[in-house]
């Protein structure tokens, strides 16, 4: 026995007990809930599920949800990348404050996020009043939903990129500058390949949250069935109508997106753990 390299908790009985308890917690807290979503969704048979999912209002809710995500994700991708570039490649006064500010949406309750936008852009708000006099209504229609979703999801891309770009440093990009490459070329040929996987995961997280946002959207949506009802709001509506199977059918679509998110994350981590074999310097010259 190599007792010199024994670490805390290496005894078989300690290991088995800890793994056992942790797996039970994970099973009851994380795995069974997912099983329940699909079990409830299909509890009345496949045809009922198909009927629920192809219901007119459900289809509209799916469409609106995808539309909101399609607008939100590119906006936050540009913002997150720009922010990560500015705070990891340069030092300037207020840099730390900027990094903290970007975390605000994580700390703000979704309901309060919705309220903030309602106060500003609602009919009685000081911007909303002006907009209303020009016949522009943002709240209780889809632009409001997009705006609060952008607020709620704006930290994700930046949060994924900042630690990675900080750790990678800027030597490779500086080499590109010395070799005379333009800024855009440096970003595309050096930075982008290095941050590709973190960027993808950031986008996937942004998308998952954009598709699933409930509290903030619920405040600014107005919940008009077939008009401003996103998929999570539709789930609530069906659930309150005691149509539990219908609610879980819609919920299972959202759960499927969540599971896909987890798969992408596992894949991204696997990619990142592999040694880097490409030589970006060559491509730049």
């Amino acid at each position: 026995m190599d007792t010199g390299h024994r670490r805390v908790g290496d005894q078989p009985w300690v290991r088995r007990t800890l793994i056992g308890i942790a797996l039970l917690v994970a099973l009851f807290m994380l795995v069974i809930p997912v099983v329940v979503i699909f079990a409830e969704a299909f509890s009345a048979g496949w045809s009922t599920f198909a009927g629920n999912v192809t219901d007119e209002y459900t289809v509209h809710a799916i469409g609106l949800t995808l539309f909101v995500a399609a607008l939100t994700v590119p906006l936050n991708l540009v913002f997150g990348t720009a922010l990560a570039w500015s705070v990891t490649r340069f030092r300037f006064p207020g840099r730390k404050l900027l990094i903290t500010l970007i975390d605000i949406p994580f700390a703000v309750s979704p309901v309060i996020a919705g309220l903030l936008y309602l106060l500003l852009y609602g009919r009685n708000g000081w911007l909303g009043g002006w907009l209303a006099s020009h016949d522009v209504q943002l709240m209780f229609s889809w632009p409001g939903i997009v705006m609060v979703t952008v607020f709620v999801t704006c930290p994700f891309v930046a949060r994924e990129l900042i630690p990675l770009m900080q750790q990678q440093g800027s030597e490779e990009e500086e080499a590109g500058v010395v070799l005379g490459a333009s800024g855009w070329r440096i970003f595309r040929k050096i930075t982008l390949p290095n941050i590709k996987w973190a960027l993808i995961y950031g986008v996937v997280l942004t998308n998952a949250r954009a598709v699933g946002e409930f509290g903030a959207v619920s405040v600014v949506s107005g919940n008009v069935r077939g008009e401003t009802n996103t998929l999570p709001l539709h789930v609530e509506l069906l659930y309150q109508d005691y149509n539990v199977v219908g609610a879980f059918a819609s919920a299972s679509l959202l759960a499927a997106i969540a599971m896909l998110t987890l798969v992408v994350k596992a894949f991204v981590e696997w990619r990142q753990s592999r040694p880097i074999v490409s030589t970006p310097e060559k491509e730049v010259s």
């Binding site: 805390v8 942790a22 340069f90």
Partner: protein, 290 residues
């Protein structure tokens, strides 16, 4: 792009340390960031300040100390506290087994830890409510033990714990991975018991990350809404959380009252957020020996 590169050089040279000045894009990237932060984050926050400053102090105080609202603060605080303590314990356990041991299905468990972040809160809410209902998979067994979770404050704790456990696992995990085995092996080989080595060697380097994770979990729980409202029962004075109070005031079109209560929650969350960031900054500096 060369135009933005040139415009970026001057300010960068002034502020940057060594070797940071050569890169282009400072003006462009900071410009986009500041524009976005102002428009998306700061402008809406100013709306809340304007709305609450329109109230008289008496009116403001009356609204935020309404007995039903005060009861919601209490419920929110103790349930968030209970949930984050639960997560501190089991989150640490999960992080520990994921870092220290090999077992079949480890990658799947590791992936599942992020489920609460990926799953929409409304979906989590109806799922937990169904599981813990009187005739649900968990509820029927707990009922035999005389424990009621659905439609009680305990349900709030369950919803909060579910939505925020990844914060603890994902904060503690990297620190556990970085822990050097040398001190630990030395202590073990000198004959110290495992419990003692954990307390004296491992825990001292672990607890700052654990505190950060628990604090993040607590902050998230204070604001949680979607997962809670389905399982809490939302009985006034018993199982109403503060974010629901804000929502109810909004439904009554009482924007002033909603803003007043929201400003209390917002202030608490922002103070917590800044404290966590300050704490992390200090602690990370110490780790890097700067």
């Amino acid at each position: 792009m060369s135009a933005s590169a040139n415009s970026g050089v001057a300010p960068v040279r002034r502020f940057s340390g060594r070797s940071k000045r050569v890169l282009p894009g400072f003006g462009l990237s900071l410009g986009i960031s500041l524009f976005f932060v102002s428009l998306v984050l700061l402008l809406p926050l100013s709306g809340l300040v304007v709305e609450t400053s329109g109230m008289s102090w008496d009116q403001f105080w009356f609204t935020i100390t309404d007995p039903r609202v005060v009861e919601s603060y209490k419920v929110t605080l103790w349930t968030a506290f209970a949930a984050s303590v639960f997560n501190g314990f089991f989150g640490l356990l999960l992080a520990w087994i994921l870092v220290r041991y090999e077992f079949p299905g480890k990658r799947i468990v590791d992936a599942f830890v992020d489920l609460p972040f990926a799953l929409p809160t409304a979906v989590a809410g109806i799922t937990l409510a169904t599981l813990f209902a009187q005739n649900g998979w968990y509820g029927q067994w707990l009922a035999k033990l005389g424990i009621e979770v659905a439609f009680t404050p305990l349900g709030i704790v369950v919803a909060m714990a579910f939505t925020s456990i990844p914060f603890v696992v994902r904060t503690v995990q990297p620190v556990l991975e970085e822990l050097s085995p040398a001190d630990e092996e030395a202590a073990v080989s000198l004959g110290a018991s495992d419990g003692r080595v954990f307390r004296k060697v491992i825990f001292p380097s672990l607890w700052p990350a654990l505190v950060t994770g628990v604090a993040l979990s607590f902050t998230r729980s204070l604001g949680e809404f979607g997962a809670i409202i389905f399982i809490a029962g939302n009985t006034p004075y018993v199982s109403e959380v503060t974010s629901l109070m804000v929502f109810i005031r909004l439904q009554e079109y009482d924007y002033a009252a909603a803003s007043a209560i929201a400003s209390v929650v917002l202030l608490a969350s922002l103070v917590l957020l800044f404290a966590i960031n300050l704490w992390q900054g200090r602690y990370l500096r110490r780790l890097e020996g700067r």
